[in-house]
């Protein structure tokens, strides 16, 4: 079981979703992905899209300023 982190706070649509999807595809069962996102579309839609794809969204928490952390488990 491992955990990887990606920071998409500097990315814009559609690469926010593209980079998250590519990182999610690398997970094995039980692995976790931590995604740092900014407020707005990525924060609203990444947890929703991950859930729809069968992943567990364990945590969505505020980090600092407009940066948030989404923790996803396969």
């Amino acid at each position: 079981m491992s955990q990887i982190q990606i920071d998409i706070t500097k990315e814009h649509c559609p690469m926010t979703f593209v980079k998250t999807k590519i990182a999610l595809a690398k997970l094995d069962k039980g692995d976790r992905l931590e995604v740092l996102v900014t407020e707005g579309e990525p924060l609203e839609n990444i947890p929703k899209s991950a859930t729809e794809q069968g992943f567990n969204v364990l945590e969505v928490s505020h980090v600092a300023g407009n940066v948030h952390k989404i923790l996803i488990e396969k």
Binding site: E11, H12, C13, P14, T20, K21, I22, N45, Q53
Partner: protein
């Protein structure tokens, strides 16, 4: 049937081949694939320039006129902006601005679409007019289709003409 159980599918007809419209098509395609849509892009007429193996201007195709057109159209490196093209300078300026503002460029969007398994198809009729064969396209082009097969593939999803 609830919305969650519906097959989410987007099929794009990429006709124009303009730089900005290709950016729109590949943004929608890669973004949709990233949120688990099945995505098809059907390249026809000018749109075919985006998936040619030769990225620049070459005398591609069978027959004098086809080769002449092939040279004029070029590949993805020569696609024009739909407005204010200024002899091909604008797409280069636009790419520079996109990079500077950390927005994915057209080439990066194409790479993303391929990485996310977007299905790319070429139009049989346009290829016939332009004297092109499947070998003239990047290997990620999965097949050569006509209208009937495109309708079959896109059935039950959203369709866009760009």
């Amino acid at each position: 049937m609830s919305d969650n159980t519906k097959t989410k599918k987007l099929s794009i007809i990429s006709f124009s081949g303009d730089f900005d419209k290709l950016v729109a098509a590949f943004t929608l395609a890669s973004g949709s694939a990233a949120v688990n849509y099945e995505v098809n892009i059907f390249f026809t007429f000018w749109g075919l320039n985006a998936v040619k193996k030769k990225r620049g201007r070459t005398f591609l195709g069978k027959g004098f006129l086809a080769r002449f057109f092939g040279f004029l159209m070029g590949g993805i490196n020569n696609v024009p902006l739909s407005r204010l093209n200024f002899g091909g300078a604008s797409p280069k300026l636009m790419t520079y601005m996109m990079r500077k503002r950390n927005v994915a460029t057209l080439n990066e969007l194409v790479e993303a679409a391929i990485a996310l398994n977007v299905n790319l198809y070429a139009c049989e009729m346009s290829m016939h007019i332009l004297g092109l064969t499947k070998d003239d396209f990047i290997p990620e082009v999965k097949g050569v289709l006509g209208v009937a097969t495109f309708l079959e593939l896109s059935e039950g999803g959203d369709k866009l003409f760009i």
